[in-house]
């Protein structure tokens, strides 16, 4: 009985040690997931949020991206949009925020692949965006390329992934609600 108790105690201590190790020294995958979840939270805003808070959030958003960030949005049935640099992104986000009353963005699935040099990574994720007063969410698969700069994972490229591809397709001649 004493041996069993000691074994159980040893196993519990090992488990505690492993847990502490993962908390103190999280893996790059975990850090990236956390950062992307924060990004989704920063993009989201409630209908009753003040203008100053919106502006602050839009400016905070810039710190998630590298200076040479490129965003390439190409959704089926919509015109293609390309944004380059933090300034353009901040402007696009502010424009989007003024177009809709509220937005709740989530990344329910994030699949991270770290490059062998551990300095860059690609995250394939699903974006679920719920716009206030809209019944159906916008669902889109996206690919985020990240690079480690001064110890921080910054997004260098964002592009849409075509889950269902269509080769010969005429886009509608008005922009998506996400981009206006």
């Amino acid at each position: 009985m004493k041996i069993i108790f000691r074994l159980v105690l040893a196993a519990a201590l090992v488990a505690l040690g492993i847990w502490l190790w993962t908390v103190l020294f999280p893996s790059p995958e975990k850090v990236i997931r956390k950062r992307l979840t924060e990004l989704a939270r920063t993009v989201s805003f409630s209908p009753n949020e003040g203008n100053l808070a919106r502006l602050a959030d839009a400016e905070n958003l810039a710190f998630f991206f590298s200076t040479n960030i490129e965003v390439n949005i190409d959704m089926p049935g919509h015109e293609r949009h390309v944004f380059a640099g933090r300034e353009e992104i901040t402007q696009a986000v502010l424009a989007a925020r003024s177009a809709v009353s509220g937005l709740d963005v989530k990344f329910p699935d994030i699949v991270v692949a770290i490059a062998p040099d551990k300095q860059s990574a690609v995250a394939d994720l699903t974006v679920e965006a719920n716009i206030s007063n809209e019944r159906d969410p916008i669902v889109q698969e996206m690919k985020f390329t990240l690079h480690k700069t001064d110890g921080k994972w910054l997004v260098t490229r964002v592009e849409t992934v075509r889950t269902l591809s269509i080769l010969n397709f005429e886009p509608l001649r008005f922009p998506s609600i996400v981009l206006t």
Binding site: P76, G77, P108, T126, V139, R162, T163, L164, L167, F169
Partner: protein
């Protein structure tokens, strides 16, 4: 004396009637415990690796599947054979939390087109009894690759630009809808 009798009385009042004890924990508690363990492990294996409960959101599969309805999907349906035309499948995006629910209309190697709402497979009209609403789509032919399937919803009343459909790679097909 009353003070000495009290514990016995409390134990007697807390003791469950035999019939209720049998209903709640069975005749043999050890066997009941083993049954519960087997049930939990079975449920975990079934709902993690074999069946998947999903909730349909949106109108693209109307009238076959209603918005908000709950369904079961088999993850092992395509272990022994490839997806068939007419199967309703779930197409994964980045993961399994959000997926598209669509019907397979085109198989690998085929050429798919839409003419006045009719699906043409290699130039031949496809009979689709599940389509109940009017459709006037006209889309040019698409030749599918060796591991590509053409998927689309049953409700094609909206313009094709508003309806998520197109070519899905085989590895994106996550499972087949059972009910």
């Amino acid at each position: 004396m009353p003070a000495q009798n009290q514990p016995t009385q409390t134990a007697q009042t807390l003791r469950l009637p035999d019939w209720l004890r049998i209903v709640l924990i069975g005749r043999n508690p050890k066997v009941t415990l083993a049954r519960i363990a087997v049930l939990i492990v079975s449920c975990f294996i079934i709902f993690k690796f074999i069946l998947f409960a999903i909730r349909a959101e949106g109108i693209s599969m109307l009238p076959t599947y209603q918005d908000g309805s709950i369904h079961l999907m088999s993850r092992v349906a395509y272990l022994w054979h490839e997806p068939q035309r007419g199967d309703v499948v779930s197409i994964r995006l980045a993961g399994a939390h959000m997926m598209y629910m669509k019907r397979i209309i085109g198989l690998p190697g085929e050429t798919i087109a839409f003419a006045n709402g009719q699906v043409l497979i290699n130039g031949q009209t496809l009979d689709e009894p599940y389509i109940k609403f009017f459709c006037d789509w006209n889309l040019p032919p698409e030749k599918l690759g060796p591991d590509e399937y053409y998927v689309v919803g049953d409700n094609r009343t909206m313009p094709p630009q508003y309806h998520e459909h197109g070519i899905a790679k085989r590895d994106r097909i996550f499972g087949k809808l059972l009910l």
